[in-house]
Amino acid sequence: MLRFIIRRLIQMVGVVIVLSALVFAWLKVLPGGTVGALLGERATPERRAAMEKALGLDQPIYVQYWEFVKRAVRGEFGASTSVQPGTDAMDVFLTRFPATIELAVCALVIAVLLGVPLGYLAARRRASWFDNVSIVSSLVGIAVPVFFLAFMLQYVFAVKLHWLPVSGRQDPDVNGTRVTGFFILDGLLTREFDASWNAIKHLILPSIALATIPFAVVFRITRASVLEVLDEDYVRTAESKGLTNRVIRGRHVLRNALLPVVTTIGLQTGGLLVGAVLTERVFSWGGLGDALALAFTRRDYAVLQVCILMATVTFVVVNLLVDIAYAVIDPRVRTR
């Protein structure tokens, strides 16, 4: 087990190193290069030269890369230019991180709580109308552009019906005490339950919009996986031994069928992040996704660097954790 974890950790370090080189190369090929990116419209030849010297861009490329890595490890990516002008990009990332986690976790919970039971039911009633309807609706869910769905939810339930707030994470007049940056948790910790409730109301529409694609994926994987397990010899053996349906379903079918679902959930973290870029923009959520969307539109390269690096590292770490969890649940994986 330990050897498995160590092997995966080494692999992960390799991925992160290659990734840093990719981000470095990416910065080099951006229109106008690093200096143009940082100076933007203020670029003059003199300023350019001064900036190049200051940033060490007159040095050979491997020295530059090494400097980049050193700064990246220390979390120095420079100041944000347009998302939150003047603020250190790392701080932009850190202050916005909880907002995105709150949204992503909520969306993932919705996706799993709906996707797994529905997928199981659909598999058990294969080819029934329930099965067909849920398959087609999961396919429709994948076909809808996320930001369009977000806009429509916002338009119908917030702008027209006024059932839920239009945007943001909390009404400005709520003014809850900040402890962790997770607004629902903050309200619970400080016993400002109305602040939590307000945050929950703000969370509903964005997390539904964000949950559609993970839901569709989890649903389909669960269904396919349950179908496969139902067909296994050990399930037939369990049936012929005369075990009760409850034991067969719980211990033999669900447990084995959920293994691929665990992996899928890990892979969905990447999808959630991308979905967050689009969803948060629509709801002005003020999280990482929002920052990334703004940074792409307004070309804030300091923020982009931090967010892309950290997002990818998070994605890699989550998948490492999922792999370890997987190895714990299923001993067969370790030997591979």
């Binding site: 229109p31 396919l139 076909a143 930001f147 992040l273 991308v274 792409f296």
Partner: protein, 343 residues
């Protein structure tokens, strides 16, 4: 349910593998190429009956089931209609999609979007161009983006996957590490980053950005099935017969590994169209809107979304229907080509 005492279900699977392996010419072509003479293959339910159609290829048998699958037929219908529309769009559209016909009626404050009227069933956009014509003509660019992004992704993935799967060993390790790193970047984030590199965004930068994301997926898929082929008996047989290595790769392994890749490309056309819309939404899309594209129309409509949601709804509906068409087709293809579902 398969009966364990009846060996036919198992034999069916082996037949499927053997048949698809035995006839690379058929498996290499798409499903539509092998019609005829294969009716009622998989429907014989006589328990004692010995199958005499063992030589039917996987694609032929898949087609015989697909023809009766309503999900596939709906997908095929939507896709077919979309392609026809894209081909004949300029002759169908009532107006020139770039002409600002209703420009005179626009008042920036009171009436930014001209309403529907005779000859303009869906109204016009913010510079007076007929939405209906733009939607019809937009099918062309949308198809182009979807197909070209898939094509480039496929070519890149096929190259990497073939190299990795054909050589194995350290070449495989190096290629797959690169692929793993590409896969470790959340897909659309990679597309956004690549699109951001473009100094002058155009349709082609959008296509390339979307295509690059697909490369690692195709590469992994192809490498997986190539490795499976490598270990299979027919490759061993070819090797024992002294067939050249290049011939083994290109005539025995590659054609037999293409099934999952074809399915995947059908699905990728759908995601490419949706991704193009996301790029436009973030302002990373093609700024030139003289030739309309649905994703671009949807992305541009966001500034009017609260007052004139119809402007977003029409292109979005088009995208959803077409993406659904490709997905329905791809998913039923996947199911039909899966030897396990061949009962």
């Amino acid at each position: 349910m398969p009966n364990p005492l009846n060996p036919r279900s198992k034999k069916d699977r082996i037949d499927a593998l053997a048949a698809s392996a035995g006839d690379p010419a058929t498996t290499g072509s798409s499903g539509g190429g092998t019609v005829g003479g294969t009716t009622a293959v998989a429907t014989i339910d006589d328990a004692g009956h010995v199958e005499e159609t063992a030589g039917v290829s996987l694609f032929a048998s898949a087609w015989s089931r697909l023809r009766r699958n309503p999900v596939f037929l709906i997908g095929l219908g939507i896709t077919g209609a979309f392609v026809l529309l894209a081909i004949f769009a300029p002759w169908i559209a009532p107006h020139d999609p770039a002409a600002r016909l209703l420009l005179d009626e626009i008042r920036p404050q009171s009436n930014p979007i001209p309403a529907a009227r005779e000859g303009f069933p869906l109204g016009a956009d913010n510079i007076g161009r007929d939405i209906f014509s733009r939607l019809i003509v937009g099918s062309r660019q949308t198809l182009l983006v979807g197909v070209m992004a898939t094509f480039f992704g496929l070519v890149g993935g096929l190259t990497l996957g073939t190299i990795a799967g054909a050589f194995g060993g350290w070449v495989d390790s190096v290629v797959m590490r690169v692929v793993d790193v590409m896969l470790s970047i959340p897909s659309l984030l990679l597309a956004f980053s690549i699109a951001a590199i473009a100094a002058r965004p155009s349709q082609w930068t959008v296509i390339i950005a979307i295509a690059v994301v697909q490369v690692p997926i195709f590469a992994r898929l192809l490498r997986g099935s190539m490795l499976a082929q490598r270990a299979s008996d027919h490759v061993l047989a070819a090797r024992a017969l002294g067939v050249k290595e290049s011939a083994i790769v290109f005539r025995h392994m590659l054609p037999n590994s293409l099934g999952p890749v074809i399915v995947q490309s059908t699905l990728v056309v759908a995601t490419s169209i949706i991704d193009a819309a996301a790029l436009s939404f973030l302002g990373l899309g093609n700024p030139d809107d003289r030739k309309p594209e649905w994703g671009q129309m949807l992305g541009a409509s966001q500034q009017f979304i609260y007052d004139h949601p119809a402007l977003a709804v029409w292109p979005a509906l088009c995208i959803i229907v077409v993406a659904l068409g490709f997905t329905l087709m791809g998913e039923s293809l996947r199911e039909a080509l899966d030897p396990k579902s061949r009962r």
